[in-house]
């Protein structure tokens, strides 16, 4: 009896010690997959430098309004899935806004090439399964840099997979339309790489530790996006050691 109590007490203490020793999953220090991530990171950098960055810079020479049209198309056809996500997040207003945007831009916006809804006060607001999982309380998990995929967390990549597999447009539209959308999506990912080039070029090729620079930038940006801005509670008092 006594031995059992001592034993359970010891186990309890060991468990508590384990808890306090492990880094907080919401801190920037938590990085359980660092070893394999760093391998993927070095490969991704080489591929980016050799292929993605030059391709993106070439694509960037296309006039902005044309690139914007491609972006508009991609965003428009993401809207049916995003409307469902807003509903799953129990966010009624964004759900209604996404549905309205889709109706306006598909009709008056020539299938989504133009974005008249934005001028009517309904700008694009990205929401995907990663956000739904966040709203449902799923923890973000470890930071996970995938080969060819770039930065993410375990939760983000799970959401991304669900977005692709269960996209309602891809489930109902004819093959010719979905193939065209895949082409549009590919071009727009190249455009994303172009738009972020000044920032990413600095992060990847001018940092003392580009893996950490990209990882903590990604995590902070993702958290702020899901929380709807900078959390005042998390601001540090910079004079604490000064």
């Amino acid at each position: 009896m006594r031995i059992a109590r001592i034993l359970s007490g010891t186990l309890m203490l060991a468990w508590l010690a384990g808890c306090t020793g492990a880094p907080d999953p919401n801190s920037l220090a938590y990085d359980p997959l660092e070893k394999s991530n760093r391998v993927a990171h070095e490969n991704n950098k080489q591929i980016d430098k050799a292929i993605f960055q030059p391709v993106a810079r070439t694509y960037g020479k296309i006039p902005a309004p044309m690139r914007k049209g491609v972006t508009n198309l991609r965003y428009n056809w993401k809207l049916p899935g995003q409307t469902i996500q807003s509903i799953l997040q129990l966010r009624g207003t964004p759900a209604a806004e996404n549905a309205t945007r889709f109706l306006i831009n598909t009709t008056f916006g020539l299938g989504g090439l133009l974005d008249p809804a934005a001028e009517m006060g309904l700008p694009y607001r990205e929401t995907n399964t990663d956000e739904t999982l966040h709203v449902w309380g799923v923890p973000e998990g470890g930071y996970l840099e995938l080969p060819l995929g770039g930065p993410g967390t375990q939760r983000d990549w799970a959401g991304w997979t669900i977005d692709i597999v269960l996209d309602p447009v891809f489930l109902v539209a004819p093959a010719a339309a979905t193939n065209a959308l895949l082409g549009v999506g590919t071009l727009d990912i190249v455009n994303d790489r172009y738009e972020i080039d000044p920032v990413l070029d600095e992060l990847l090729y001018n940092s003392a530790d580009s893996y950490t620079a990209q990882r903590i930038s990604y995590l902070q940006n993702m958290r702020a996006r899901l929380q709807g801005g900078t959390d005042v509670e998390q601001l540090e008092d910079i004079y604490v050691d000064y």
């Binding site: 000044p198 620079a213 900078t230 005042v232 601001l235 540090e236 008092d237 910079i238």
Partner: protein
Amino acid sequence: MSTTEPIARRTFLNGLAAAAVLALLPWPAEAASVSQAQTLVNTISGELTGLVNSGGSEAQIYRGFESILARYADMPAVAAATLGPAWRGASNAQKQAYVAAFQSYLARKYGRQFREYRNASINVTGARDAGKAGVLVQTTVVRPGQANIAVDWQISDRSGSPRAVNLIIEGVSMLANERAEIGAMLDAQGGSIDRLTAELKGRA
């Protein structure tokens, strides 16, 4: 001594009463520092947009940017926060040299990014009191034909006057990133602050 004591005590009690009243009315004091922080951000924003649109050379823009940092940011405190525990072990001469090198490194690095904000306008959208951490002033950088960028400014008056101590761009804290960067550079230089300072000076 005995004659002045009642007066001293009364003064002390009056002071205490005044302090109690102030403690009960935190709002006006907070409001003042929040509005001061907003004013500071408006001033810096005006200078920044003026500088980026001045048509100056790259070197001129970096110099202008460094001058803005020196005048409106608490650079010694920011530099100390990026260095962490190593700051305390440094001599005064090492600290001064590091702060100077860090300031011009930061000006070049962020000056490069700010050059992309040509024709942009910076609009203050709100401000919130963040207690000991200072005041968070929220701005939106509006660029024609491109997505807006959320830039938050952390302003603190702990140095005696309101000064910028951090920039948070789309949720990404400049301080957190530079702490990681400086940490990596310090490790690469075997923990030597002098070599770190030399490394910072040499960085483009």
